[in-house]
């Protein structure tokens, strides 16, 4: 069956995710409004500013629909800001956005832009020697029992999977290494 994956296109690194999906033979849908969510097999929440994206999905009436689709089992993949959007708790008391991932996230946990970095990662069961691009990146500080930790840096969790939800702190879409996205595409089939 042919797979159609949506990329939440309200703000951020949308084009990079669409390009990555297309070069792996998947039809990509730029999800800008509620109707665009109706006919997809999976959804990517890209990097960007989580506060901005969070506000725009509420204004666009997309929040409840995304929550409903994810609760019904549609695979969702969050990168960087996408991880913040998915988490049930945000450190510092900021209200959660989608609250689909049983985890606490520390926004910009790795510091400001001057501390942004690249580092080689081993994502358990998905990719060894993967170049992680971390940009004002978040990390997960606490996970619930259903969440599988796939990689950490100094005990800071940077990749997780919880059934149909996949989330990473970094930006695979900024590299040419398609192993993580292919893992996600397979989840959507």
């Amino acid at each position: 069956m042919s797979v159609k994956i949506g990329v939440l296109g309200v703000q951020g690194a949308v084009a990079e995710h669409i390009k990555t999906l297309e070069r792996n033979g998947v039809e990509a849908v730029n999800v800008k409004r509620l109707e665009d969510l109706s006919d997809i097999n999976g959804l990517i929440l890209p990097g960007g500013e989580s506060t901005t994206i969070g506000r725009l999905i509420v204004q666009g009436n997309m929040k409840e629909k995304i929550q409903e689709l994810a609760k019904n089992g549609m695979p969702v993949f969050g990168t960087c800001a996408g991880m913040v959007l998915l988490s049930e708790k945000i450190e510092g008391g900021e209200p959660a956005h989608l609250g689909l991932l049983n985890a606490t996230v520390n926004r910009n946990g790795f510091g400001r832009q001057v501390h942004s970095f690249e580092k080689e990662l081993n994502i358990e069961g998905i990719a060894e020697g993967f170049n992680g691009v971390f940009i004002r990146a978040p990390y997960i500080s606490e996970v619930g029992p259903s969440v599988k930790v796939l990689e950490t840096i100094d005990e800071k969790v940077v990749a997780v999977e919880q059934d149909n939800i996949l989330a990473v702190s970094f930006h695979p879409e900024l590299t040419r290494d398609d192993r993580i996205i292919n893992y996600f595409i397979n989840k959507c089939k």
Partner: protein
């Protein structure tokens, strides 16, 4: 091993800002208004461009207590301006942990010949441009993001339109050109050949390009997106309007939904007056900020 300050993390940071609005703020309170409205970043300054224009004299890097105050007030990225060629202002801002430095023609240039060698910094830079030559020279110096210049502090969109059209039409020329014609184009525009080759291959600039300089209404912001900007800087347009909070929210929504004209119509109702605008042809040539740092 952890590598910081790489080209990928510097350019990547700007990629994350795409589709967003970056707002000029002069204190913590304005920064919080900008963040609450959905700005993707704020630019911390001492005075917005229209006040710089009105005050005259030399405009320098902001008092750093303002920058510090803004950094403490918000969780979104904070940018700050250094004078063109002022290596020490830039290093100072970098040491404070500012997320992006704007080597900006809005301030009085410290060097009327050379720009900063930006690739030597860990912090990324954004620079202004009004044509492909300026754009490509700034990229070669290490700018990780560009913004078309427009004419800051005027509330008049005409120069911003001219500059984004100019840059994008020159990109189309490069893409359509045969490779053997590219060297002469490089010579005529003072534009490094290798970067032109990269633009030809990519079909676009290798860095994000926002629009700036004259955006005063939600429709202005949407127009910039329509003309191919990756996002929008709004300087005086928000906090010099009658109702900054409303303007800020409306400009964010219009930028994101730039082709949803019914929504832009709604957003444009009951906004109050925008900032007062200036006719460009009434400005003396030495008052034009876009002529600085070419």
């Amino acid at each position: 091993m952890l590598k910081t300050g790489t080209e990928l993390v510097k350019r990547g940071m700007a990629e994350m800002q795409k589709g967003g609005v970056i707002m000029d703020v002069v204190n913590a309170e304005q920064a919080r208004v900008a963040e609450a409205a959905g700005a993707v970043a704020v630019m911390a300054l001492e005075r917005v461009p229209s006040d710089i224009r009105a005050a005259g004299g030399v405009a320098r890097m902001a008092d750093l207590t303002i920058v510090e105050e803004v950094m403490k007030a918000v969780s979104i990225p904070v940018m700050a301006k250094a004078r063109i060629g002022h290596i020490v202002e830039a290093r100072t801002l970098e040491s404070m942990g500012v997320d992006y430095i704007d080597e900006s023609e809005v301030l009085t240039p410290a060097d009327d010949v050379f720009h900063i060698a930006k690739s030597e910094f860990t912090v990324p830079f954004v620079c202004g441009c009004k044509n492909i030559g300026e754009a490509v020279r700034r990229i070669a110096e290490g700018a990780s993001m560009l913004r078309t210049k427009g004419e800051p502090g005027t509330g008049n969109i005409v120069e911003a339109v001219r500059h984004i059209r100019q840059v994008n039409s020159e990109i189309q020329q490069i893409v359509a050109m045969r490779t053997d014609e590219l060297m002469v184009f490089a010579k005529n525009h003072g534009a490094p050949y290798e970067i032109l080759l990269e633009i030809k291959k990519l079909g676009k600039l290798p860095v994000v390009n926002f629009a700036a300089g004259g955006v005063a209404t939600p429709a202005d912001a949407a127009l910039m997106m329509e003309l191919g900007a990756d996002g929008v800087f709004v300087g005086s347009g928000i906090f010099k309007s009658e109702n900054p909070e409303k303007f800020a929210k409306a400009i964010v929504q219009a930028t994101h939904n730039y082709q949803d004209y019914a929504l832009i119509a709604e957003l444009s109702k009951n906004l109050g007056s925008p900032m007062k605008g200036l006719e460009i042809s009434r400005l003396a040539k030495e008052e034009l900020m876009s002529e600085r740092g070419i």
